[in-house]
Symmetry: C2
Subunit: 211 residues, 2 copies
């Protein structure tokens, strides 16, 4: 399998992590995101949504990290949830993550670290940080007294929600301030096959000079 990705993408990390945890045979195809690679016609032909990650598995080409995770769960029989109720709870958290957690942490981290300083906006970033904190509060409360997000074992919901939370670049999230999230991230780190995003995927920042 080939995963089009770059190290700084927490959305790509969700899939890279699942591939590594399931011992899949896969390779990372580097995407020069910061040089504009996802805006090229070639990339748009691969994924009209213009986003990383994209997974290629034989005749299957798939985008949207949550949909790829679902595909891999079906393919491997792992981490998808044990029954219909667990699978629906997984879906609920995949959607929450896309909307409120990774969907805010991604842009905020981008704005605070990878955007040229002259274009950074304290007002926009403050708005994003407020909304992200509200989502982290929901996750923190959910994880108090639970080991995993959806059911008694690790699932796709955990891999999705942790997408941006192992990165060191500042984006107003500090593990120490969220004890239940911190402990849960520790449980993820202890899973056989866990690795940090930068150890699974090549970094794309800063962009190389175009040739």
């Amino acid at each position: 399998m080939r995963l089009h990705c770059f190290g700084e993408s927490g959305n790509a990390y969700k899939v890279a992590l699942m591939l590594n945890l399931t011992g899949a045979d896969w390779e990372a195809v580097p995407v020069g995101f910061f040089g504009g690679a996802t805006r090229t016609p070639e990339f748009r032909a691969l994924n009209a949504m213009g986003e990383v990650p994209v997974l290629e598995d034989g005749a299957v080409t798939l985008s949207q990290s949550g949909a790829i995770l679902d595909y891999l769960a079906e393919k491997t029989g792992r981490f998808g949830g044990r029954d219909a109720d667990a699978r629906r709870e997984v879906l609920r958290w995949l959607l929450f993550d896309a909307h409120k957690l990774s969907g805010l942490a991604g842009p905020l981290r981008f704005n605070m670290n990878f955007l040229p300083e002259a274009r950074r906006s304290a007002e926009i970033n403050g708005w994003l940080a407020g909304r992200l904190a509200a989502a982290l509060k929901v996750l923190e409360a959910h994880l108090e007294g639970r080991d995993w997000i959806a059911g008694p074992e690790a699932t796709l919901a955990d891999f999705a929600c942790c997408g941006y939370l192992f990165y060191e670049e500042p984006f107003t999230f500090a593990r120490a301030e969220w004890p239940a999230i911190d402990a849960w991230l520790g449980r993820l780190e202890a899973l056989p096959g866990w690795a940090h995003p930068y150890d699974l995927m090549p970094r794309a920042f800063p962009p190389k000079e175009e040739t």
Copy 2:
């Protein structure tokens, strides 16, 4: 079935529309969102994520519009996609919608119409509008030459992506500027059982005086 909702919520509308299209026996339970009802302990006990919609169906209580749509598709055997490929394509667009379409249109429309004028930020709204336009461009291109988003017939993907697009309040979206989206919204309006959000759910704005 009972749907906790309010008319201004495009996320609740997705579910109300599906319920109406399938001829379900349901009632709207009004949520006083603008008076802070989703922040009360009572509502948080119903949905720890603190969001509308919430569906109650006998012993089942479910939140996240995409997960509720999936539940209703399973329950009714309708609009979920004909096979595994269509169902995964549906999921792909549910996630895209949560992240990039309704996930941006919702806050932008809120900021531009329901937030007190003194708290409105041109900078934040401009940022949201730019990202929303990029998502609409992806949807427009996808719908050129297609009647429906995921496969040959209407699915949950259509009901999710249209969530905010029938509202008249300004949020930088104008149907006339997006011909493929405009035609697709027309096809949705022609489905037996289609209705405008304000005809399906009670409005919550402006909030009534608390008693």
